[in-house]
């Protein structure tokens, strides 16, 4: 009896020792991810992790849902400060400078050693890489990226006597179409606005569409200078303000981002500017024929990019970092990038992903999906600097001040630039 027990105990001990040995070989990669659009994102990510572990048994990727983008960076940076950050995380591409300044991440270049690796790093759309590189180094890998597009209600166009297949292509057409699309009753109350550009929360992002079209950049690549008070920026803001004050084709005041798609579904606006990430949402909920188009051109076409990149955190072992890089390379292959784009509505991040059979079939059945891709050659990096949130807030406050009539566009941008310059002074080299 005693011998039997000892034997069992011995076997159990041997088994435990073996599993410890196995665990020592397995590299753990905790991975934070945010959810910012509808759809079964968590399920998709879990599936990726499981599939990856099957192909790479020595690496265990543990996806951890961390809330919105804002909540995810709060969690990741707090964990970094307490010494145990995730090994990798998807965070906003605009968080790059913040993460560098906190000394939280390592450059992706550390893990690019072979020719295949170099080819991989070059395979992404250049528009997405501008937000991922500074100082000659790459800090993030594009993953769930988006851009601003125009959605229009084809039925409303028909009612207004416009060609339902022809969206506005220029600033002038946008005003002209919107004027025809705005419906007023005898008392002057509006039942349908012509166009809607949301301005709550992060107005800078949509405003950057106007500034790009006006032919001006909002910041430099080093992220230490902003150009908020350039004449073209003021001109862009004047155009945006004029939509509601002069032409009276857009609701006055600050327009809520969250309710904008619903305004579109309820036919309270005939055209709206919003993210490509809303494509699946609009497709499911619009009870009328709709179209998706590139944003209208001013001096040129243009839109900012947006969305999230993969980052690799510094406070983890070299083995973990290598494992994370392996996972990131694996998840951004053309086939997976294509599938991710189809499943979520994000823009597939590399040109060759659009050549895969799955993506070709998807675009054939649903042509609006390709609009974001076609707009990418005109796209610029989303506003991102050192002290990013603070510098961006300076612009947001100025935009909202102008949109609510508290300041003239010129004054608002002058004040915003002064504030941004004050914040960025320590980063000038």
């Amino acid at each position: 009896m005693l011998v039997q027990m000892l034997k069992t105990a011995g076997l159990a001990a041997a088994g435990a020792a073996m599993s410890v040995a196995a665990a020592a070989q397995t590299v753990e990669v905790p991975f934070y991810f945010p959810v910012a659009v509808g759809g079964p994102i968590t399920k998709l990510i879990d599936q990726y992790a499981t599939d990856f572990s099957k192909e790479h048994p020595s690496i265990k990727v543990t996806p951890i849902y961390a809330g919105t983008y804002q909540e995810t960076i709060v969690k990741a940076l707090t964990a970094h400060k307490s010494g145990t950050p995730p090994v990798t995380s998807v965070l906003l591409s605009t968080d790059m400078f913040t993460l560098i300044d906190e000394d939280a991440i390592v450059p992706i270049d550390n893990f690019v050693k072979t020719d295949a690796d170099r080819a991989w790093l070059k395979s992404f759309f250049p528009a997405f890489m501008t937000n991922s590189q500074t100082d000659g180094k790459t800090w993030g890998v594009p993953f769930q990226r988006s851009t601003v597009v125009l959605y229009w209600n084809k039925e409303a166009f028909k009612e207004a006597g416009l060609d339902p297949e022809k969206p506005p292509a220029t600033w002038e057409e946008q005003v002209e179409f919107a004027r025809k699309l705005t419906k007023r009753d005898a008392a002057g109350n509006v039942s349908q606005w012509g166009v809607q550009v949301p301005s709550s929360g992060f107005p800078y992002w949509l405003f950057q569409g106007f500034t790009t079209q006006a032919g001006v950049e909002l910041m430099n690549q080093a992220g230490d200078t902003t150009y908020y008070d350039r004449p073209e920026v003021v001109q862009a803001l004047q155009y945006m303000v004029d939509l509601s004050t002069k032409h009276k084709v857009m609701a006055p005041g600050v327009i809520e981002w969250g309710t904008t798609p619903k305004d579109f579904f309820e036919r309270k606006t005939a055209m709206m500017w919003t993210t490509t990430g809303n494509l699946t949402n609009v497709r499911a909920n619009a009870k009328f024929d709709f179209g998706v188009a590139m944003l209208p051109a001013g001096k040129r076409r243009g839109s900012p990019t947006g969305g999230g990149n993969f980052y690799i955190f510094k406070k983890s072992t070299p083995a973990q970092q290598e494992a994370a890089a392996t996972f990131i390379k694996w998840i951004t292959t053309p086939e997976r990038a294509a599938q991710w784009g189809i499943d979520t509505g994000y823009v597939a991040v590399r040109p060759d992903a659009w050549e895969t059979p799955a993506m070709k079939k998807y675009v054939e059945g649903f042509p609006p999906a390709a609009v974001a891709r076609d707009q990418l050659p005109h796209a610029v990096a989303e506003l991102s600097t050192h002290e990013n949130q603070r510098v961006t807030k300076a612009l947001n406050d100025g935009l909202q001040a102008a949109l609510t009539g508290a300041k003239t566009p010129e004054q608002a941008m002058k004040d915003a630039q002064a504030e941004a310059a004050r914040i960025l002074r320590p980063y000038k080299r």
Binding site: V74, A187, G253, V254, I255, T259, Q389, A406
Partner: protein, 291 residues
């Protein structure tokens, strides 16, 4: 010997509560005070002692001053109205009337709903054109208004949500207090020929004073503590007109990552609340009749 035992026993009973209080209340407060005299550590730059620099920055920070002013208006807007409403509702549902239980539930429901959910619902109430509010004003032929998107109405809108949320909560305290008032007082007043208004003014209201005191302190604290709906509905906009102090602390601490400055802002909040509570205990206490 037995006395010492009793002492040890007493302290041991207190220990769990005290440990948690110290760990989660006192220690963070002291750490915040210390942090507010240091610079924010950034990457390779460690925190260094900067004295009152963070407080000097605060004096020059227009958004801070605007948040203070907004918060005062928020307090002035929410506290008296929600207390008055709570008292009215409590007096009403304390009477014998049909469907009393349902009415109480209806008044109390806003309190149990999570603020985030509530704010999302109110967001659609305020939506221009097809929101609930617009549909009602539309019936009277009033022009459409962008309630949360204009400077004049945004703060009033978030104040209204706070009142709606709080009044039911305070009502419960008043209701409990009203049930404590012996019916014999009402009978005696009736025998003496006192009018209902007189009974209310001379008997009920004084007896409710301890509750009012308690509710008032809670209301003041809540007016500096409620920010969930700001995050959902306006994010402090348009142009900071709905930025409240605690919201600004969050923004500076967890969006700008300027933790030292956020610590200094937090100290202002702590001092303000401590002063308010102290003032209320010192001055109002004298005029409060405890049974």
């Amino acid at each position: 010997m037995r006395r010492i035992d009793a002492h040890v026993h007493g302290w041991l009973l207190l220990l769990p509560a005290m440990a948690f209080l110290a760990l989660f209340t006192h220690w963070p407060a002291v750490a915040t005070l210390v942090d507010s005299f240091y610079s924010t550590p950034r990457g390779s730059r460690p925190a260094r002692f900067v004295g009152a620099d963070n407080y000097a920055v605060m004096l020059d920070d227009p958004v801070f001053w605007q948040s203070v002013a907004n918060n005062l208006w928020f307090a002035v807007g929410t506290i008296p109205v929600s207390i008055a409403l709570a008292m009215l509702m409590a007096l009403w549902v304390n009477d014998r009337l049909a469907g009393r239980a349902w009415l109480r539930v209806a008044f109390f429901t806003p309190t149990i709903l999570p603020m985030i959910a509530v704010a999302n619902i109110w967001l659609f109430f305020y939506t221009p054109q097809y929101g609930l509010l617009e549909q009602v004003t539309g019936l009277f032929g009033l022009p459409s208004h962008n309630w949360l998107g204009s400077r004049d109405t945004a703060l009033a809108c978030v104040i209204l949500v706070a009142i709606w949320k709080e009044a039911g909560f305070f009502m419960i305290f008043y209701l409990a207090a009203l049930q404590q008032i012996p019916p014999s007082l009402a009978e005696a007043a009736a025998l003496e020929g006192a009018s209902r208004a007189c009974y209310l003014r001379r008997v009920v209201l004084p007896l409710l004073m301890p509750t009012t005191m308690f509710v008032l302190i809670n209301a003041v604290i809540n007016s500096f503590r409620l920010v969930d709906h700001i995050i959902v509905m306006t994010r402090g906009g348009p142009d900071n007109v709905t930025s409240l102090l605690l919201f600004y602390v969050y923004e500076v601490g967890f969006k700008f990552w300027d933790t030292a400055y956020a610590a200094a802002l937090t100290m202002v909040l702590v001092v303000v609340l401590a002063l308010v509570a102290l003032g209320q205990y010192l001055f109002l206490e004298r005029r409060t009749h405890y049974q």
